[in-house]
Structure formats: C-alpha cells, structure tokens
C-alpha cells in the first residue's frame, strides 16, 4: 500500500511548517511537499499607515531578521521621499546602513551555523535528539559553542549602535539615517578581546572547521539533497558581491546569464509569483521562463554563484577555492549553503572592519530629501536571500499597496525539491520511518535557513509537522519532533 509521512514541526528552523511525503505501493517516494500553513497577513495590515512608518512597522514581521525588513523598507521609502533609487544617500547615511546590514548578516549567519546547523555536522544525522543542540555542541567542543555566542553578540551590538536599539530600531529613516557612530562606540569594536580582528579570526576558524568536515564527509556534503537549479541575487554593477545594493542577476545551473543585471525597480517585469492550493507561501519564478523552468535559488549559495568576485581579500581567497571546487561553474550542492554562508560571514566581518575605520561614520550629513514619488521599491540581500519590498502611497501619504517577496519565499520551490531529494535518498524502499530519516529531511530544509514566519508574513507564532500518506491521501504516520 502506498503511504504518506508528515513531519511537524520541522525543528531548528526559524518558524513552523509541515512536510508531507507520499510513498507509492513499493514504498518509493513519489512526491514531497513543504507546506506553510500560516495565514499571510502583513501586506494588508500595513495598508492605510503613513508611509514613513513602514521601516519601523515591518520589523514586526519577524524577531529574527527585523533589520533586513527595516532596511529593505527604508530603501523603498527613500525612493518615495525623492532620495534617489539607492544611490542618493549621503556617504554617512549609506555607510551607517551598510554597517547595520553587515552586522545583521554576520549575527544571523553565525546563529544559523553554530546554533542550528553545527549539531548535525558534529553528531551526524542519526545522533540522539537530546544532543543535537548547542548544549550538545558545548559538551563536544566548548570553544566552538562559546565562539558562536561571542560572534553573535558582536553582530547584535553593531545593530544596537546603528539602529539605536534592539527593539523597533529607528536607525534608517526616509532619506538617510538618524545618528552617527560615536568614537567610543567605534573603539569598542576595534579594541579589546572581542574586537573585529577577533571576529575575522573566528570566521576563518569556523570556515576551517567546515572545510575539514567536508574533507571527511565528502559524499554527504556534495550529494545530499542536491539538484541543479538557477540562482538569483543582486550584485554590484561591476559584478562584485554586494549585499546592500545592486542590480538583479540570475544564472542557470550551467552559469549562463538568464537575467542580466536588471534594475530591481523593474522587478515586476521579470519576477512573478505562482500559488499552490496546499501552501500559503507563494512560488516565485522568472516570467520569461515560466513557473516550471523559471524558479531559482537565493541566499548564500546563489550569491556565490552569481557574483564575479568578493571585494574583500580574505573572503575573495575563500571564494576562489569555492569556485574552483566546481571548475568555475555554478555550485548546485545544497549542503554547500553552509560553506557559502561562512564565506559570507568572513566577508561581513571584513566589511565591518573597513566601515569601522571610516571616519564618514563619525560625522557628515545624515539625511537627504527630494521630490516625492508615489511608489518605491527596495531590494536587499538579507541573510537568507533576496528580499523585495514594494510600496505605493495615495494622495494622503498613506500606503495603499504593499508587496513583499521575502527570501524564504524565493527559496520555496528549491526547498520542496530538497525535501524530495532527501526523502528519496533516505526513505526510498523503507518500510519504517526512523528518527534519523526524519532528521535528514529537516537537514535539507535547514540548509536554506528558512524563516517561515517571514515567508508567510505571519502575524503570530507559526509552529511546522512530517506526514506519511499513501497515494489515496490516507495518513499512515504523523511525526512531531
């Protein structure tokens, strides 16, 4: 008899979702789905609010990546206030925002690697559940656990001094930023035991740990839940990695450009969102290729596939090694998201060091204004991938339309494919579903570091479940981990 497996909740991801795996009569995986079952409501909620409130309001979307939403919204509102299309801010404002953003990238990547992903690498897929967490990591490798916490703290402190506070930060305002960095604040990051130099050293150490793991577990890291795909991100106009501003570029699995450095303000000309009746999360795709061929991956792996180079020396060296691993072609290995994420962590640390040594942060004009526009788009590379905010206002300066395409939504189709590949590799022909098999499916999802609350614009906590079903849609087994 054919079967269906349900995993609920999927653990160590940001949010809550549900996985259904269909088995045929021979216990072979016939189809897998990652369902997002929370109602999407934020885009409607924000309608009617004054446009200048958007950068603060949207932070309520998520307690994990409020800074990304804050900055994407601020970039869109910059356009509405006539402050240019991402290139019109004063040097001080742009650099303060960049520091805030790279602090967010740093702390988010560190949290994901050390807190959510490293237990799988240290203990394996079949380890007992009660050691697959940071306490387990601490018992095995205390230095690694402490390093993760201190790096995360550094990034959070950067956010605090640039956004003004941890909750509802107000740093980015329409047309600029609301504060300078003080000399004392700057020096607190440049000196001492936990300085930016220490962060760079620890980033290199984390990379060395991962590369050593890769060397010893090559088959798993290279082949688990892997599949060919296109990749999309913004890049700087000269092709450099730039996580704050740029043009949209997409490449196919062979490396051919399928979106050639287009202006993100025209994203609606290139990107559409499909819907499925079993998920609240939409399925974005490139219009000219259609929903079946136009889907793509975003996030660290995609960004290392789309950019031509990384404009900081240590990360560039790591990038060259990463690229040479696939002979310069796009890397389509799902577990290499972790490798890419740590290269970006190093890059973020290097960028923060450059910015902290830049006197433009200490003084200079903060805000610029111009002729008001009725519509604005802001795009940023959030930790989990390309994040799009789009607002249109009415004659009373109130938001009448908001459209958000968040990173995890952009990765919706790839995450479903990754789940299917993992299920095929671990469950094919099995008559009994074991805990390690369940965790394997979660590991595939976790590589994308999804934030499911963001993806559905959830208004509350969103708890995720694996369900095993037969071909007649009858539930055979439900697993809540």
């Amino acid at each position: 008899m054919s079967q269906k497996i349900i995993i609920d909740p999927v653990t160590r991801v940001e949010g809550h979702g549900k996985v259904t795996i269909y088995l045929d009569n021979d216990n072979n995986v016939s189809q897998s789905r990652l369902h997002i079952v929370e109602f999407r409501g934020f885009e409607r909620f924000i309608q009617g609010r004054p446009y200048w409130e958007a950068p603060v309001l949207v932070q309520r979307l998520c307690g994990i990546c409020p800074v990304s939403h804050h900055l994407a919204a601020a970039k869109a509102i910059d356009v509405i206030t006539g402050a240019g299309k991402g290139d019109g801010l004063t040097p001080t404002a742009e650099k303060m925002r960049r520091l805030m953003h790279y602090g967010q990238i740093f702390q988010s990547h560190v949290l994901h690697f050390f807190h959510l992903a490293s237990p799988d690498l240290l203990f394996g897929l079949d380890a007992a559940i009660d050691i697959r967490n940071i306490i387990g990591v601490a018992k095995e490798n205390k230095h690694l656990a402490v390093m993760g916490i201190m790096m995360r703290k550094f990034g959070q402190e950067i956010i605090k001094v640039t956004a003004g506070k941890k909750i509802h930060g107000t740093g980015a305002i329409p047309g600029g930023i609301n504060k300078h960095l003080s000399v004392e604040e700057r020096d607190s990051f440049l000196k001492g035991d936990n300085s930016i130099d220490q962060m760079i050293d620890w980033s290199l150490e984390a990379l060395a740990f991962l590369k050593n793991y890769h060397k010893n577990n090559k088959d798993f890291i290279d082949n688990f839940a892997s599949f060919p795909s296109s990749h999309l991100s913004i890049v700087r106009k000269d092709g450099a990695m730039d996580l704050y501003h740029g043009v949209i570029r997409a490449v196919d699995y062979k490396g051919n450009r399928i979106l050639d450095d287009v202006d993100y303000h025209d994203y609606l000309d290139y990107i559409a969102e499909g819907v499925k009746n079993w998920s609240y999360m939409k399925f974005p795709y490139l219009k000219h290729l259609g929903p079946d061929k136009g889907w793509y991956r975003v996030g660290p792996l995609a960004r290392l596939n789309t950019c031509d180079f990384i404009p900081t020396p240590l990360a560039q060296k790591e990038f060259e090694e990463f690229r040479s691993y696939t002979g310069g072609k796009p890397n389509n290995m799902t577990m290499h998201y972790h490798w890419a994420r740590l290269i970006e962590t190093l890059h973020a640390a290097e960028v923060m060091k450059e910015l902290l040594n830049d006197d433009d942060l200490l003084s200079g004009e903060l805000v610029i204004k111009g002729e008001k526009q009725s519509e604005g788009v802001g795009v940023i590379e959030a930790p989990r991938g390309t994040l799009i905010h789009h607002y249109r206002i009415d004659k009373n300066d109130r938001i009448e339309m908001a459209n958000l395409i968040v990173s995890t939504t952009n990765n919706n189709n790839p995450m479903n494919l990754a789940v299917n590949e993992a299920a095929k590799q671990m469950m094919q022909g099995q008559r009994e579903i074991t805990e390690p098999m369940m965790n394997a499916v979660e590991v595939a999802i976790r590589a994308y570091d999804p934030c499911l609350s963001c993806a559905t614009h959830a208004l509350g906590q969103m708890p995720l479940e694996i369900v095993l079903k037969d071909k007649n849609d009858t539930i055979i087994q439900v697993k809540r981990t």
């Binding site: 160590r12 809550h16 309520r60 949290l111 995360r152 941890k166 609350s453 906590q461």
Partner: protein, 161 residues
C-alpha cells in the same frame, strides 16, 4: 551587586510590551535616583548570546508578559532548563541560565517576573488592565531595587502579589 533587568516581548503586540514598559519606567527611576550597578536591556525574545550577558551579573531578573492565570504579577526563581525550542525564536530564561552555567561557568541568581497581560492585538499600547498591573509592578520593583540583596533572602521560589 551587579544587577540586570532584562525584558523581552514585542511592544507591537499590545500587552506583550509590558516588559519593555517596565524597563523604561525603572531605567528612568534609577537614573533620577542615582542607583548604581543596575543595568537594563530589552529584546523581542531571548537569544543565545544573552547567556554571556547574564554570566557577567550577580542578579538577573527577566521580565515577560504573561497569559497565565495570575494576579497582577509574579516573581519566580529560574531553574536551569536544557531543553531548547524547535526554533531560535523561542529560548526560555531557564535555557539561557543553563547556557551561562555550562559555557561561562557562572550561575547568577536568576528570577523571572511575569506581569499579567490581557490583549495581544497587532498594535502598540497597553490595555487598561495591563497598565494597572504595570503600575503595581513598578512600585514593587522600586522596593526590590532599593536593596537588591534582599531578593536573595526570599524564602519562597514564587512571590505572588
């Protein structure tokens, strides 16, 4: 005695902002009254790096809004809890305390102050009932912060107003 008052919750969800409102009020009072060695912090939720932060203190009082059936407010002693949530969206005071002990070899006296809330809609501002509870909690905390050492002598693990 190095003391940290750490509130968590989302002020964009009405009474979930009780903790940050308490911190705002007490921070002002501490400044006006020149109290020393008392620090404050707020966040949407507790995070793993908070383990380091509390490891540098002697006394930590976490503050959270509560949906439980309590009167006004309740202060409870926090015990270690090694269980992590399925997501980093949710870390308990007990888990943060446990991390501090395991990773930094420090076990500050740790309490959780629950303040009763009633409304959790998606907007800013406290309900009238929450405001009432907040004022009572502020008065109680001013007494505690006048002599923080006294909290260590409390006989019971739960102090119900």
């Amino acid at each position: 005695m190095n003391t940290l008052i750490y509130a968590y919750g989302n002020p964009g969800r009405m009474d979930d902002g009780l903790g940050s409102e308490l911190v705002n009020a007490l921070e002002k009072w501490v400044l006006e009254n020149h109290k020393e060695n008392i620090e404050f912090d707020c966040n949407y939720q507790l995070n793993i790096e908070d383990a380091y932060e509390i490891s540098t203190k002697d006394l930590v009082i976490f503050v959270d809004a509560s949906k439980e059936d309590i009167q006004d407010f309740v202060l409870t002693k926090v015990d270690e809890n090694s269980k992590m949530s399925f997501t980093s969206h949710e870390a308990s005071p007990g888990y943060i305390y446990y991390l501090s002990k395991k990773l930094f070899d420090r076990s500050p006296e740790t309490f959780l102050l629950h303040i009763k809330g009633y409304k959790w809609d998606f907007k800013q501002g406290l309900s009238n009932g929450a405001k009432h509870n907040l004022h009572k909690t502020i008065a109680y905390m001013k007494i505690i912060l006048t002599e923080p050492e006294k909290i260590l002598k409390l006989k019971h693990n739960i102090i119900q107003n």
